[in-house]
Symmetry: C2
Subunit: 298 residues, 2 copies
Amino acid sequence: MPDYGVLQPRFDAWRARSEATLERILPPADESPQRLHAAMRHAALDGGKRMRPLLVYATGTAFGIDASKLDALGAAVELIHAYSLVHDDLPAMDDDRLRRGKPTVHVAYDDATAILAGDALQSLAFEPLVHSDFDDAIRIAMLRELAVAAGSRGMCGGQALDLAATGDDSSISAPQLERLHAMKTGVLLRASVRIGALGARVDAATTERLDRFADALGLAFQIRDDLLDVEGDSVLLGKTVGKDAAQAKATFPALLGIGASRARLHELARIMETALAPDGERMAALAALGHRVIARDH
Amino acid sequence: MPDYGVLQPRFDAWRARSEATLERILPPADESPQRLHAAMRHAALDGGKRMRPLLVYATGTAFGIDASKLDALGAAVELIHAYSLVHDDLPAMDDDRLRRGKPTVHVAYDDATAILAGDALQSLAFEPLVHSDFDDAIRIAMLRELAVAAGSRGMCGGQALDLAATGDDSSISAPQLERLHAMKTGVLLRASVRIGALGARVDAATTERLDRFADALGLAFQIRDDLLDVEGDSVLLGKTVGKDAAQAKATFPALLGIGASRARLHELARIMETALAPDGERMAALAALGHRVIARDH
């Protein structure tokens, strides 16, 4: 079993790099329009597990890329993630008031500013890739990966399916719920791994294994999230618990039961291990991140 | 004076190319998630002046690029424009119910779908540039131009300033209002011209003149828009008239008066002519578009 503890200093260093990069890329809060820039910083800085940048660093460094070259790539995917949270939290969407232990952007500012801050974070996400230190052709492949992952065939499409699956009159099967989450969160997690791998010009067979790892990780992440909403601690989580049931949201525990959801989690853990096994020790950080997703309590 | 009439068939052909390209790029309405894809098509197809693609075609063909190579570039800027309208029309923003003679997206669908459709249109906007038929380095420069124009230092920032300038208790000067619109609409219009020019590897001096043309065109567009809201015909316009005053929106007629606004329009027309003059006849289509902006009644 991968030991997250031994790797903790490395993850902490990557998280610090990620924070510093976002701090540098985001416009300063005293630059006009100040309210918009303050809202963007509220959304993107000082919080979050930074799972997506960690996946970029873990993948890229596994294939010999220096962390300093990966900063821009991690920031790109994290900015897409941050924008999606701002919009998902809006009253017209999930109507969440608490995120990472802080008021959500529309609560701290207002709905219009939250919409615009999300929009501007999405535009900004493409800039670090444009300016990153890789060959033109590789940067274009990364930009394509990000645009497709964020769009209607990826993250936005998944959120649309999620809204349609919410409410007492909706019915959705377990495979449909898996597809929903593969789009809503899985595609961007996979893009994080792929963008790290693109930088290293990883071969097709390895990319295919990394995809399998990332797809399992994305689904595991969501099942764990659903379980935490049933069993978790709102202080640890920094967000409201029991909200899924209150909103009649389709979840894995509701659909499969808690026991079967836990069993599926362990199956996904095995898939991740198998996918990473052929590449051996260099995959330790990715393996530890996979394990963390399964075991996390927040 | 440039004759828009003689060039009309060319503009119609470009508009048809633009429509066909958007039709091809947008996911089909029967592809899941259907409601999201239908909303994206509602927002982007069958309507609008297509000013931004026309600027791309007029600039690119002036420097010898075939229209077929410009299709993707025009679609990219138009998708950014289309997404911005969807979000600007939301109840939390300008709260508009009519656009291009059709119900706005949140009226035809719902607020959540409108937010997501706008988000997905923005992601989609980057894809045609990625796949366009230009050298890698040029495509990267175009992608950079689009991301910056759309972001908090461009269009989104301008909309944030616009919201702050709306309401009885706000006060804004004419130069501040010019800056607001330079960001809100000007930067994307300039990006349309620049992206066309990038494809042709236009030299720095010409680019500088094209920027001056585009900046004047953007401001003229807004002043004409404000005048039409005072004097225009809602049937021709396909949207509500008198809305600016009702919302206490800062406008050029309100700030300068109608006479001075018209005088500023004519000054901008002269700036556009002067900027295009050194490049002679090849600029006829751009000149005609500039003239059209000044003279338009919808």
